[in-house]
């Protein structure tokens, strides 16, 4: 390597000093925020998928609680109800559950084996609805009434509404967390910019007196913080994706956990724009802060 200075190969050096300890602290905070935002985003996507799945299951089925009338046995009443419902438009299948299955469903409330054999328990009919044009609970009830079947229709709409509310709440909370993280990022960058302007007062002064505009100086800080935020956000996003991926692998064998948090591999792509978003938020904040601070100078 030649030590002779070649003027023709000279290229301007960065006008702001290299990063120091303050910048490293900012990198750490932005990376942590990116990690949290990434987990929130993946969690929101998985939560949305879970609620959608539950809702689809609920709206795709209904249940009848059938009571026997007159000399009719409970099994006969259930079979007749299944027949009636099978003919309703929008019902793909209606199947009377055996007594043992019906008792198994209420076992969690009264305990196994605690049900007297002569207790007249109602029979259940499981109904599968057409996913595209499902029969309404009212239509099914009307058909049953017309055929003199004493039954209650549970079209799961009560649970469906609750799940929809829970899903919307989950998405709202995730959006609020995301907005909070962006606000914290902006506050941190604004603070760092003010600190940077104060710490590099000599540089700012020299640039100003050499004819640099406020915009020129602000651009230096804008570019510095945008680059730092992009790098830190990338690190945080990679960590978030790795954590979410590890969670998916860890819960792969557990059906209940997978149903609660059904993370898809494609969800991990949600963190992909974080470096750009982080850089953008940092650039805008740094510019606004720097312009305001520089504007107070003579």
């Amino acid at each position: 390597m030649s030590l002779v200075f070649d003027v023709n190969r000279w290229w301007p050096a960065p006008l702001l000093p290299r990063r120091d300890g303050r910048d490293l602290a900012l990198l750490f905070v932005v990376a942590a925020l990116s990690l949290l935002a990434g987990l929130a985003a993946v969690g929101a996507l998985a939560g949305h998928r879970a609620s959608q799945g539950w809702q689809t299951e609920l709206t795709g089925s209904a249940t009848l609680v059938v009571r026997a009338q007159g000399t009719e046995t409970a099994d006969e009443a259930a079979a007749r109800a299944a027949d009636v419902v099978s003919g309703v438009r929008g019902v793909t299948e209606a199947r009377a559950l055996e007594a043992a299955k019906a008792q198994a469903l209420i076992a969690p409330w009264i305990g196994p084996g605690a049900l007297p054999p002569d207790l007249p328990t109602p029979r259940l009919v499981a109904i599968e609805l057409d996913r595209k044009t499902p029969a309404s609970g009212a239509a099914i009830a009307a058909a049953l009434k017309a055929h003199g079947v004493d039954a209650d229709v549970d079209d799961h709409s009560r649970w469906s509404a609750q799940i929809m509310r829970a899903g919307a709440a989950t998405e709202g909370i995730a959006a609020a967390i995301f907005a909070l993280i962006v606000a914290v990022l902006a506050a941190v960058v604004a603070y760092a910019t003010r600190q940077g302007l104060a710490a590099r007062h000599d540089v700012v002064e020299a640039l100003h007196l050499s004819g640099a505009t406020d915009g020129y100086i602000a651009r230096l800080f804008q570019a510095r913080f945008a680059r730092s935020a992009a790098q830190a956000a990338l690190a945080g996003a990679v960590l978030a994706a790795a954590a979410a991926g590890a969670l998916k692998l860890a819960t792969a064998g557990d059906a209940q956990l997978t149903a609660l948090l059904p993370i898809a591999w494609t969800d991990l792509a949600a963190v992909a724009p974080f470096p750009i978003l982080g850089a953008l938020a940092a650039a805008v904040t740094a510019r606004v802060t720097a312009m305001a601070a520089l504007g107070a100078r003579p």
Partner: protein
Amino acid sequence: MRYGREPEVLKEISFELKRGSFHFLTGPSGSGKSTLLKLIYLAEEASRGRIEIFGQDLALLQRKDRPLMRRRVGVVFQEFRLLDHLSVFDNAALSPRIAGRKPAGYRDDVADLLNWVGLGQRMQAMPQALSGGEKQRLAIARAVINRPDILLADEPTGNVDEAMGQRILRLFLELNRVGATVLIASHDLELVARSGMPVLQLEDGRLAPEPNFAPERTA
């Protein structure tokens, strides 16, 4: 001119520097020399009175136009104000760079100027490695690289030997010859006298009459 509630640093001052003139600004420490220069290079705003540069009233100058005005004013600061993280070459190249010129358009000028002020062998050095005299010369190179219309210098020969002082003075005279208006604040009365140039003398914040040097003044 006053800072906060302090007594006025400069008062009842009225003078005009003709385009292409060369003046020294003298006076004891605390007489207001540096403050007067700061007002001209727009580092301070006058608390009262009126300052015109290039026919422009500074009080009416919009903020967006101040950088363009500053680019026409070269300043050699007493404390140099070099950027320690930039090399000698980068420091000297600061003004054309800020003005938005392409490196290929000014790097030869920077190299020539650094050679002229005796820093041709120190172009890659960092300011911390320079002596006081070298820093002074670098500060001068940075101030004159853009061929300013006004060159202000605050004690520019304070850290150099007599020979370099003479050389720096010749540089200022040369810049003045090609059209720059020069105002140099200096304690070096011998240098001032030897130059034969007119003098503005400050005493206790006021411009003192100095018949020996006959400065150009307006009423």
